[in-house]
């Protein structure tokens, strides 16, 4: 394993130093990434966070029209309550704070603890659980939060920027999650800096279906196939759970080590699938947005849009990882 790091212990802080140096719109203090301009009076604050290694998620989505603060944990490890408490207090502009939490035991527990301990701030929480590879049953921790986290952060962020009250921002965030589904496929494992070796072994001949974003092995292993077939598997899984119809927001997301050229190849197949179901790609993203370190592979996320959601998606956003309209 070769990585562009100084030490495995310092990688999160070193990367945050790089973010601070690169983005004057951010201010970073005690492992929390804030908008440099601070909270806006009367605006609902948005806080998210999770393990590091998913960049640009979440810290790269701090800025106008999206998050107010992000709490990066160690690599693939949820942040601790202290970070979340600091962030929640700091971004409160008097209108309360929404926690956007991906559904992982660690994220849920640490955000819950923080929400209990923070005082004097009105806190609501939305749980993102879009990954159709996981059954939502008594026998699992529930569906994982993956690519749709970006959709929730963007759309809730736009609504908060407009001055909507906390209950409404939380409700729409939940609605976005309800209308979104994802499925991921890995061609290779990732390697965490601490472990120093691939999390799982995947032979040249196989791929993992239904992976998360932490290098967890997937639900099944099948022989490597063409982009068309792999996109078909992912889209059937999504469509089987939430039938595609009408206007869609479609993201083909790279896991971190996948070249953009290949993601476009996948996107072409995904778009063809969508057309085949009589739905329409109304908005799209292609790139590395919700990653898993150096893993090669992709995930597809879709959201069933309606006019209000489309308007919020299109609203200006200015973050290191997502930017338009200003």
């Amino acid at each position: 394993m070769k990585k562009l790091i100084n030490t495995a212990e310092s990688v999160v802080d070193d990367a945050l130093n790089g973010m601070a140096a690169a983005h004057p719109t951010l201010r970073i203090r005690d492992r929390v990434v804030y908008r440099a301009e601070g909270p806006r009076r009367g605006k609902v604050g948005l806080v998210s966070g999770g393990g590091s290694g998913h960049e640009p998620l979440h810290a790269g989505f701090v800025g106008h029209g999206m998050l107010d603060a992000a709490c990066p944990g160690e690599v693939f490890t949820s942040p601790v309550p202290d970070q979340i408490i600091d962030a929640t207090r700091a971004v409160d502009g008097g209108a309360g704070v929404l926690h956007i939490v991906k559904n992982y035991t660690g994220d849920v527990l640490n955000f819950e603890m923080a929400a209990e301990l923070v005082e004097g701030v009105d806190v609501a929480s939305v749980l993102v659980d879009d990954d159709v590879a996981v059954q939502d049953s008594l026998y699992t921790a529930g569906r994982r939060g993956t690519g749709a986290t970006l959709f929730v952060e963007k759309i809730a962020g736009a609504l908060a920027e407009e001055g909507a009250p906390l209950a409404r921002v939380a409700a729409v965030a939940g609605e976005v999650d309800d209308r979104s589904r994802s499925f991921g496929i890995a061609l290779t494992s990732c390697t965490t800096p601490h472990a120093g070796k691939p999390t799982f072994d995947l032979p040249e001949t196989d791929v993992e279906l239904g992976i998360g974003i932490h290098g967890e092995p997937g639900r099944a292993r099948v022989p490597m196939a063409s982009a068309r077939e792999l996109a078909g598997i992912a889209m059937e899984a999504v469509h089987g759970d939430l039938p595609l119809r009408g206007d869609l927001l479609v993201m083909v997301n790279g896991m971190g080590g996948t070249p953009l050229m290949e993601l476009y190849v996948v996107f072409a197949e995904v778009a063809a699938f969508v057309r085949g179901k009589g739905a329409r790609v109304a908005r799209s993203l292609v790139g590395n947005y919700v990653t898993s370190l150096d893993m090669q592979g992709f995930s597809v996320s879709i959201c069933l849009l309606d006019d209000p959601l489309t308007r919020l998606w299109d609203a200006p956003v200015e973050t290191p990882g997502l930017r338009w309209g200003r």
Partner: protein
């Protein structure tokens, strides 16, 4: 049992976790995200440091410091869960500390983690090692067994509980995403819980 024994317990746990760090991470790689070893190594070494830097006056303070430090420094699922065990133990422990008092406080700590994580025995989590350890302590108290023997039984129960997670299919935590593929692997949190109890047996031996 005094403050020193509890401090020694965490020092020994830190040593064991550091030594077994790679094994814990490997277990987590198989059915999770390959960070359990580094999470706990970071956490318990911080606990040991905190206890060494400002030595607590009471057994309850040792546990409170351990719980708060784990919650403040670990993150992940294991941070709040282990943190809750010790935080609750610190609240429940009465002084002077007897084996019965320790066993009761430990039981309450384990219940706190069960509540927080909503995991039951057989879900293939740390609970599968902690609950048997707690029961072993309760039995030892009932049977009037000595501290040393009691902790040895608890350590054995935890180790057996950890091994018993191997054939299970996970129903909680990250391993549950794997469905049937989680079968055949030892749960990393159960394995670290076994280390925790082994450390306890060592420091009173």
């Amino acid at each position: 049992m005094d403050t020193d024994v509890l401090v020694a317990w965490f020092a020994e746990t830190a040593r064991l976790v550091h030594r077994e760090r790679e094994r814990l991470t490997d277990l987590d790689a198989a059915i999770g995200d390959a960070d359990h070893g580094s999470n706990l190594d970071r956490g318990f070494s911080e606990v040991a440091r905190a206890l060494a830097t400002s030595p607590p006056d009471t057994p309850a303070q040792v546990l409170a410091t351990a719980g708060a430090t784990l919650i403040r420094r670990v993150g992940g699922a294991s941070g709040p869960l282990y943190g809750s065990v010790f935080r609750q133990m610190g609240k429940s422990l009465t002084s002077p500390v007897t084996l019965a008092g320790f066993a009761a406080a430990f039981e309450e700590g384990v219940v706190a983690a069960e509540r927080l994580g909503k995991a039951a025995l057989g879900d293939k989590t740390m609970v599968d090692a902690l609950v048997p350890a707690s029961r072993a302590l309760a039995l030892a108290v009932r049977d009037g067994v000595g501290v040393r023997e009691a902790f040895e039984q608890a350590a054995r129960a935890a180790a057996d509980g950890a091994k018993a997670t191997i054939p299970l299919q996970a129903r909680k935590g990250r391993a549950s995403y794997l469905g049937e593929r989680s079968v055949g692997h030892e749960d990393p949190g159960a394995a670290s819980a076994a280390l925790l109890m082994a450390a306890l047996a060592t420091v009173v031996a």
